[in-house]
Amino acid sequence: MAPRDTSTLAEPMARGRAPRVNPELLPAAVVLACAVLLIVASTLLNAGSSFVPQLDAVLVTSIFLVVASFGQGLTILLGGIDLSIGVVVGLAAIMVSTLTNGSNAAILWVVPATLGFAAFIGLVNGLGVALARVPPFIMTLASGISFYGVGLAFTTGLAQRPVAPGLVALMNARVAGVPIPVVILLGFVIVATIFQNGTSDGRKLYALGSSPGAARVLGLPIAALTILVYTLSGLCAGISGILLAGYSSAATIDIGDPLLLPTIAAVVIGGARVVGGRGIYLGTFAGALFLSALETIITVLNLSQGVRNIIEGAIIVFALLLQSERWRVARG
């Protein structure tokens, strides 16, 4: 196994060629460039289309993945994982539509309540992982399956009630020609990057993910940090679910299922290691954009679903191959 850095940002790396630049920025930039290339390719493939609307479409539809991937990225940073994300997204979407029931006034208490519930599921995961010592893979898989059953019990999976029009408008309106979701997206990316790669809490997470033993010696609050990360992951899935409910204005309990595996793929394509301690949020963001752009180009291709799947699978493997070469060089 490759030697792990104790802190990626706290001390610039000695072996890096450009000591003041985070070495993880390069893979993030490469993936981001690939995403832009995909959008350009999609523009060229479709006569009559132009770059900006394509970019808009990719950005707006990527927001759910971008937000949910932040939480996934944090858990993976600690060497864990969150498999309950798809379920939490669905539950949040159902909850926000059922409780607002078409009323804008209700948003004021429903959105905090929904986020609270989503964070609560994350908290349960965090407690299970940090205090009961259940492996994250199992804890989050089990809580996802169980909470799905709870959701089914309360709704029969049905959103008979409409999402508040305010949320729908939020996801569909523009300011100064820019779709509001894109503004939200950029704001989220900035906040998330600052948290993960600019605060002392973020640095502690890297230290903990790189070496739990060293973190213990340093006296870091391991349990508290772990609980924080899983709670944040639940919270992000909740935000993603609320945005998704607003975007599609019709929520179903399985609406988040297609997001789970892409959150993992986005984090890893962005340069993180599943064993923890590596990866920056900009990389995850680039990975999510890349997957969204890939989805776009595949959607627009006039092919049978079988061929689309094969191309999509191959490109995901290819994107990971690009990352692997980098490590071989770094290691050698």
Binding site: L141, I315, V317
Partner: protein, 325 residues
Amino acid sequence: MSAALRRLGRLRPTGGAVVAVVIFLALYAIYAASEASAASVFGLTNLFNNTVVLAIASAGLTLVVLAGEFDLSPIGVIAIANVVMATTSVGTLGWFGALILVLLIGAAVGLLNGWLVASLRLQSLAVTIGTMIACEGVALLLLPAPGGAVNQAIVDALTGDVLEVVPVALAVIALVLLVWLVLARTRFGIAIYAVGTDAMAARLSGLSAERTKLLAFVLAGVAYAFAGFMLSCQTGSGDPRASDTLLLYMYASVAIGGTSLMGGRGGVFGTLFGAGILSVMQKMLFALGAASFYTSIFSGLIMLVAIFIGNASELLARVRRQRVA
């Protein structure tokens, strides 16, 4: 302690596996108490038919997990195996030819996964998402809609019972266990635990992590394909769609069976009972008249209970060992 004895020691089921056996028997007892046909050959045959696909696929997954990796591609391999059986087992190849073909396909996908993970050092959790999606695509190309037919001879033979006593599916599961017991005594069987526990130490003691992981993926691929073969016998036809639920339940089987998802600890024995627990639980909850959402809630809780008890019993064992020493 001699090497042979140590090897035998390794085969002893872990605490987690014992817990799985106990939970399985308890759930089965409740099921049998509330459903008269549970203990009949008809009921047992149904139960094991429902279990066998999950059990075999999870057994394969266990190998990869023991070696410290993940695999999300099994549902893709199962889908391909199913459509290949449905399109070739009648006529062209016959059931045996078709079986060999699907096992080879499974091995090939496993080889691809193994090469990407073990040789190119890609992260298995992500790269097998790619191969899963691609495999689903291949299945859709081979059979665009449900249909085809599976050779009637194996459909009847492999879903029935032997002399109206033993369900064939149970015999197949026993066969898988036997293969595992043999495999676990080989050099590969030892290496897989060593690599999963500490790849560096394994390398130092002369075991090739790369070759071990590669072989684990290949054998797992063969197991998934065999699971797809058994699924084809159950359904008698082909369906190109893969079930995400099955993938989740495979990991649940492995975890409930006491195998550590970090690698290096556990075994196929527990996994088989893990799969049995999930199947018998569905039957038990139905027999008790519980609403279907309880199945989900219980699946999750039972996973946690199994892990808790497994952890606790291992802790106890460690304390006892220390006291003895």
